[in-house]
C-alpha cells in the first residue's frame, strides 16, 4: 500500500512536470491524498496488466482502467488546485 502510494505520487510528478514543485511539497502518504495516489497507481497498473491480454474483454478493461486513471488524476489535480 505504501509503495503504491509512493509510485502513484512519483508517476504523477512525471506526467505533470508543470505541477512537480507543488506535488513535491505534498507527502505521498498525505492523509487526504494518499488514498488517491494509491488508486491512481493501481489504475495504471491494472491498465498495464489487461493491455497484455489479447481478448475483447481485456481491451474493455484496459480502456476502463485508463479512464479511471485519468479520472483519478483529475481528482488529485482538483484537490491541489
Amino acid at each position: 500500500m505504501k509503495n503504491a502510494r509512493k509510485r502513484g505520487h512519483a508517476r504523477l510528478m512525471v506526467r505533470w512536470p508543470q505541477r512537480r514543485a507543488q506535488l513535491r511539497l505534498i507527502p505521498f502518504d498525505d492523509p487526504g491524498l494518499g488514498d488517491l495516489f494509491e488508486a491512481y497507481e493501481l489504475a495504471w497498473e491494472a491498465a498495464g496488466y489487461w493491455a497484455k491480454i489479447d481478448t475483447a474483454a481485456a481491451s474493455e478493461r484496459t480502456r476502463e482502467y485508463h479512464a479511471l486513471a485519468i479520472a483519478t488524476e483529475e481528482d488529485i489535480l482538483h484537490r491541489i488546485s
Partner: protein, 274 residues
C-alpha cells in the same frame, strides 16, 4: 486535506437517521463522486443498515455494483479497491468542507468496505443531517414516496428490486423532486412515513414500484398515486430480459423514461411545485 471531521464525532446514530444522512449526502452536488460510486456508497450503507455487513466483500461489490461477472477476481481487477479509495477521499473532503454541518458522518475505514456511522456533537438540535426539504432550492417541490412492493423469493430478484429503486432515486432526484424511501419489510414504517409526509406542506405522491419474480423476462412496474386523494395518475409496466451483467442499463433507462413521464404530469397539476 486532513480528516478533522473525526474529532467532533461522538455517538452511533440509529438506522433511520443513517438512511436520511445517506439520502442527504447523495443529493449533494458538493460530493465529488461518480454515479457508480454513489451506487457503491448506497450499496454498502444499505447492506450495513439492513444487517448484512458480512456480505460486503470486494467480490460482492464487484458483481453487484460494478457489473462484473462471476469470474471476477479482485486481485487482477482492482476496481473495488480503487473506487473505495476514491470514495473514501471524496467523503472525507465532503465532511471537512461543504458537509461539515451534517449531523452524521459516513466513513469507509481503510482495510474494510463496511461503512461506519457516527453523530457529531454540536451540529444542531437534530442528530441527523439537514433534510433536502429544508433546502431553499427544494422548497415547494413535489414529494414522492418510493415504496418497493416486490416480494422477492430469490436473491436475483431482490437485487433487481434494489437496482430499480436506485435507478428511480437517481432519476427523480436529478429531476428535482423531494424523495422519501419507505424501508422494505417494515409495513408500520410505510404508514408512518406517509402520515409524516401528509403533515408537510406541498404536493405528495406515492411511487409504488415492483419487480416480479424470475423467468426469462422479469416484469418491472411503477404506479404513481396522489397521496391526498388516492387517485392513480399512471400505471406502467415493462417486461425486461435481464441477463446477469447487462441489466443495469435497461433498468436505468426504464426509470429514466418513467421520470420523463412523471415530471410534466406533476408540473401540469393544480398547485404543482415543480
Amino acid at each position: 486535506m486532513d480528516e478533522d471531521h473525526s474529532a467532533r464525532i461522538c455517538e452511533q446514530p440509529d438506522n433511520d437517521a443513517v438512511l436520511k444522512a445517506l439520502e442527504h449526502v447523495l443529493a449533494s452536488q458538493a460530493l465529488r463522486l461518480s454515479e457508480r460510486n454513489r451506487r457503491f456508497l448506497s450499496f454498502v450503507v444499505r447492506q450495513t443498515v439492513e444487517g448484512h455487513a458480512e456480505r460486503i466483500k470486494a467480490y460482492a461489490i464487484g458483481v453487484d455494483v460494478f457489473g462484473r461477472d462471476e469470474d471476477f477476481d479482485p486481485a487482477v481487477d482492482p476496481i473495488v479497491r480503487i473506487e473505495a479509495n476514491r470514495l473514501r477521499t471524496a467523503l472525507a473532503a465532503y465532511y471537512d468542507g461543504p458537509g461539515q454541518a451534517d449531523g452524521i458522518v459516513i466513513t469507509v475505514p481503510r482495510g474494510s468496505y463496511v461503512p461506519t456511522f457516527q453523530s457529531r456533537a454540536g451540529s444542531g438540535d437534530a442528530p441527523g443531517p439537514r433534510l433536502p426539504a429544508c433546502d431553499k432550492s427544494a422548497e415547494g417541490r413535489a414529494t414522492i414516496v418510493i415504496h418497493d412492493h416486490s416480494r422477492a423469493t430469490d436473491a436475483e430478484t431482490e437485487l433487481r428490486g434494489y437496482l430499480f429503486t436506485e435507478a428511480f432515486l437517481s432519476a427523480l432526484q436529478s429531476a428535482g423532486f423531494k424523495l422519501r424511501l419507505v424501508p422494505k419489510r417494515e409495513c408500520s414504517a410505510a404508514a408512518l412515513a406517509i402520515d409524516a409526509l401528509l403533515t408537510e406542506p406541498g404536493n405528495a405522491y406515492a411511487l409504488d414500484i415492483a419487480v416480479w419474480p424470475p423467468g426469462e423476462k422479469q416484469r418491472f412496474s411503477w404506479r404513481l398515486i396522489d397521496l391526498r386523494t388516492g387517485e392513480v395518475l399512471a400505471s406502467v409496466f415493462r417486461e425486461l430480459a435481464v441477463a446477469a451483467t447487462s441489466s443495469f442499463g435497461l433498468i436505468d433507462e426504464f426509470a429514466s423514461e418513467a421520470t420523463s413521464t412523471i415530471t410534466p404530469m406533476l408540473a401540469a397539476r393544480p398547485g404543482a411545485g415543480l
